[in-house]
């Protein structure tokens, strides 16, 4: 029982970074851009999330607005990196896969370099702490799982319905979907496909940067060059996993983090289980397995994903 409650509590918290990043990646992909650089953007976001409070108060407590500034700095940097990626893949029509790998290495490398020159060694910050909500957190079982987190966690969960609303109910979402599925049709209706793609890259980048800042500010309370450790790539995989639908992506993120939390808890609660390497592999195997069996049903996927738009190109 305790193992399960612990696992679910951890799941609720650890999902957040993945969830926000994959929501952001969903916006990219819905508009037709495949951004493998998510990992790099998250790295820079994570670094800035650390840097802002660290410069203000070192390891000590800092006012809440400074922490918020850290999150915002991460998001702004992410938006800029998204736009930079846009210049490369939209305006110059570079192949998106390769450019994305470039952005990933650029972001991770840059964050590591800045970290060495501005922070130096391993340092920690106080960050944003979890706060149990009075009364609600007293509810047995559900209380600790749902109501013992830091405020950003709740904001992140709110992003799922918000993203759903934006994609399916707003004019902007309509344009994003058209641009990612059949850009020629959008173009024929006077919609500026490339502008929409830039916009969604900025939004997607901001969310990835925010997710990175969340990792340092709310989860790890420290930074190191490998802090993202593949979460950016998992976020990209989750978008496929969730078939470009916010709710399915959310479920995918939960499932993945659940598997991950479960394996850490098994290691704690069942130390005599010797093959922990296999447990660590579990979440990744899960993603690959689901993706492998998921291939057929992409009727609602963005058909123009990965293809640069060129009005005068014939066929």
């Amino acid at each position: 029982m305790e193992l399960m409650i612990n696992t679910l509590t951890l799941t609720a918290r650890f999902t957040v970074a993945l969830l926000i990043a994959s929501m952001g990646e969903m916006f990219n992909q819905k508009s037709g851009i495949f951004n493998l650089g998510c990992e790099g953007i998250m790295s820079m976001g994570a670094f800035l999330g650390m840097l802002v409070p660290f410069l203000y108060g070192g390891a000590g407590t800092v006012p809440g607005y400074i922490n918020a500034a850290g999150l915002i700095a991460g998001a702004l940097c992410g938006a800029l990196m998204g736009l930079l990626f846009g210049v490369v893949v939209i305006s110059f029509r570079a192949p998106q896969g390769i450019a994305g790998i470039g952005l990933q290495m650029f972001g991770v490398g840059l964050a590591g370099t800045f970290f060495r020159s501005y922070i130096g060694g391993t340092q920690s910050i106080t960050g944003i702490n979890a706060k149990a909500i009075p009364v609600l957190s007293e509810i047995p079982v559900l209380g600790p799982i749902l109501f013992t987190h830091n405020p950003v966690v709740y904001i992140a969960y709110l992003m799922v319905p918000v993203a759903w609303y934006i994609i399916f109910k707003t004019p902007w979402g309509l344009k994003i979907r058209a641009a990612g599925t059949y850009p020629k049709a959008a173009d024929s209706l006077g919609i500026n496909v490339n502008k929409i793609r830039y916009e969604s890259l900025a939004v997607g980048g901001a969310m990835a940067g925010f997710a990175g800042a969340f990792l340092t500010l709310c989860q790890a309370k420290m930074f190191n060059a490998g802090i993202i450790s593949g979460r950016g790539f998992i976020a990209v995989a989750l978008v496929y996993f969730g078939q470009w639908h916010p709710v399915k992506i959310f479920l995918g993120a939960l499932l993945f983090t659940f598997a991950q939390s479960l394996q850490t808890q098994i290691q704690i609660f069942v130390p005599q289980f010797g093959y922990y390497e296999f447990l660590t592999m579990l979440p990744y195997i899960l993603v690959i397995a689901v993706l492998a069996f998921n291939r057929k049903s992409n009727k609602f996927g963005p058909a123009a994903l990965g293809k640069p738009f060129n009005r005068e190109q014939r066929v």
Binding site: T170, K175, T181, Y182, A185, S188, G190, K299, F300, V315
Partner: protein
């Protein structure tokens, strides 16, 4: 500009170049109030390019455009919509995974309310248009659920919802069944009492039935303009192609060849899991053309794919010159002498991003003729490609241009050149002239008849009864995966075939 009537649309001296092609060459045209102008011309003549310029999608290199005498300069389709011009593209501009409602909302800026889309206003607009013109659509259906004919109705409704008073229709009938075409012609005639229309087509009976004026484009130039009523279809056809047009007909006696291709009790599943072919039987002899008539979607695609090894059968036999080819690989089937002109010429027939010469040797790149020790013999391939270009009249500036940049007719000629020059024993042709102009169609038909004379058996799958009647020795009618009836050429008439295609068995 908004809401003013378009009394006259004039383009003057429009010129537009694409790399290697002069698509519009000093074009001047005028369309008056409530007038229907038919713009005819062969593929690649520059009709679509000109329309894209009018819509503000392409920017002309030089030339001007006037509405009611005032010069206009459209920078995007939005400007064209505001001026009341709307276009239905040949390739429908509908997003498949969105509903009809959403597709129309995408263009109706008046329903964009910042944080939400006012779908109710779109719905009432659709209802208004539907009622006015009798265009019935289901606003909540997804585009991928609709048939081609329904999609076209949606396109028309969309264009009208966006406030078009001047319609441009780019080959609106090319994907429609004969009945749908007739309905559309009647509808457009009715609409012309309120709208002006530019109608692009190369089906001259439609041009005659619908238009007031006709303009003929050839190689990017207007070569003729006049009143439709003053000229016969034959006159227009000759001006369009630049030479006399003869209808290609198979007038030769049927030869009694040996059985070339026999399928018996064939059961093949479609992508959606039901039996597209259900105990299907057919026999084609060497030296004869068998036309397979039927409304598309009755198993033709699955049959063609099965015969060429692209789809497996559940049961049944497939004998090809005495050997069984059932469920063999495409490579084995090609090696036994099968030629194939597939339905989707752009994606199945060629690799669009590869050059013409590469596409021409696609099936033989491993043969000793074109390669030695796994290295391609470039010089020989180039000579061969040059020869094919002239023999099959493939119009392109160079053999190193990508095949995808060619017009539909020229792509079809590349495919035909590749298949015929391999000297096949049999040829499966699926909709070989769909969407092609008369010149290209005539050329392709002549090639098919020549193959027949040389003793090749041909299975001709088509929806166009005229094509089937003109070319076939025998005609088989397919309906719901079964052969309805097989008729000799001289026994068949259009009316009877139409009835059989609709699923009625005649037992006369």
């Amino acid at each position: 500009m908004e809401n003013t009537e378009i009394r006259e649309l004039k383009v003057r001296h429009i010129t537009k170049r694409f790399p290697g092609v002069l698509a519009s060459d000093d074009i001047s045209l005028t369309v008056g109030r409530h007038e229907i102008l038919a713009l005819v011309g062969e593929n690649g003549a520059g009709k679509t390019t000109l329309m894209n310029i009018i819509m503000g999608l392409y920017k002309q290199d030089s030339g001007k455009m006037f509405i009611n005498g005032e010069e206009v300069n459209f920078k995007s389709p939005n400007d064209a919509f505001d001026a009341g011009i709307g276009m239905v593209h040949q390739q429908y501009m509908l997003v498949p995974n969105m509903t009809v409602l959403e597709n129309i909302a995408l263009g109706m800026k008046s329903c964009w309310k910042g944080t939400w889309v006012d779908l109710d206003s779109v719905r009432s607009k659709i209802n208004e248009i539907s009622e006015k013109y009798g265009l019935v659509t289901d606003p909540d259906a997804y585009i991928w659920q609709l048939s081609v004919g329904e999609q076209q109705r949606v396109e028309l409704v969309k264009t009208l919802c966006l406030g078009a008073k001047f319609l441009i229709l780019d080959e609106p009938t090319s994907a429609l069944t004969p009945q749908e075409t007739d309905e559309l012609i009647i509808l457009l005639k009715k609409m012309s009492s309120e709208l002006s229309i530019i109608f692009i087509s190369h089906k001259l009976n439609e041009v005659k039935a619908l238009s007031h004026k006709v303009a003929i484009l050839r190689h990017g130039r207007v070569v003729f303009e006049g009143n439709t009523a003053d000229y016969s279809s034959k006159d227009i056809a000759e001006m369009m192609t630049g030479h006399k047009v003869n209808i290609t007909e198979n007038n030769e006696e049927q030869v009694n060849g040996t059985p070339a291709l026999t399928v018996k009790n064939l059961c093949v599943k479609s992508d959606r899991g039901f039996y597209a072919l259900d105990h299907f039987n057919l026999e084609v002899n060497a030296g004869e053309i068998v036309g397979l008539a039927g409304v598309s979607g009755n198993g033709q695609r699955e049959l063609a794919e099965f015969l060429n090894g692209l789809r497996k059968c559940e049961s049944g036999t497939y004998t090809f010159f005495g050997t069984s080819l059932a469920n063999k690989t495409p490579g084995e089937i090609i090696a036994s002498g099968m030629g194939y002109i597939p339905e989707e010429r752009n994606v199945e027939g060629i690799v669009p991003s590869m050059t013409i010469k590469e596409n021409l040797i696609l099936k033989d790149s491993e043969s000793s003729r074109f390669s030695s020790h796994k290295i391609l013999k470039n010089k020989i391939i180039e000579n061969y490609a040059e020869e094919m270009m002239s023999r099959f009249d493939i119009r392109s500036p160079h053999i190193n241009f990508t095949a995808g940049s060619l017009s539909g007719g020229n792509i079809q000629k590349v495919i035909l050149a590749r298949e015929i020059s391999r000297k096949p024993r049999f040829l499966v042709c699926v909709y070989p002239i769909r969407g092609l102009d008369m010149g290209a169609a005539e050329f392709i038909h002549r090639q098919l008849l020549e193959l027949r004379t040389n003793g090749v058996g041909i299975l001709l799958i088509s929806e166009e009864l005229e094509e089937i009647m003109n070319l076939s020795d025998r005609i088989a009618v397919i309906f719901k995966g079964k052969i309805q009836k097989v008729l000799k050429k001289n026994e068949a008439n259009t009316k009877q075939l139409g009835i059989l295609m609709a699923g009625v068995k005649d037992d006369e």
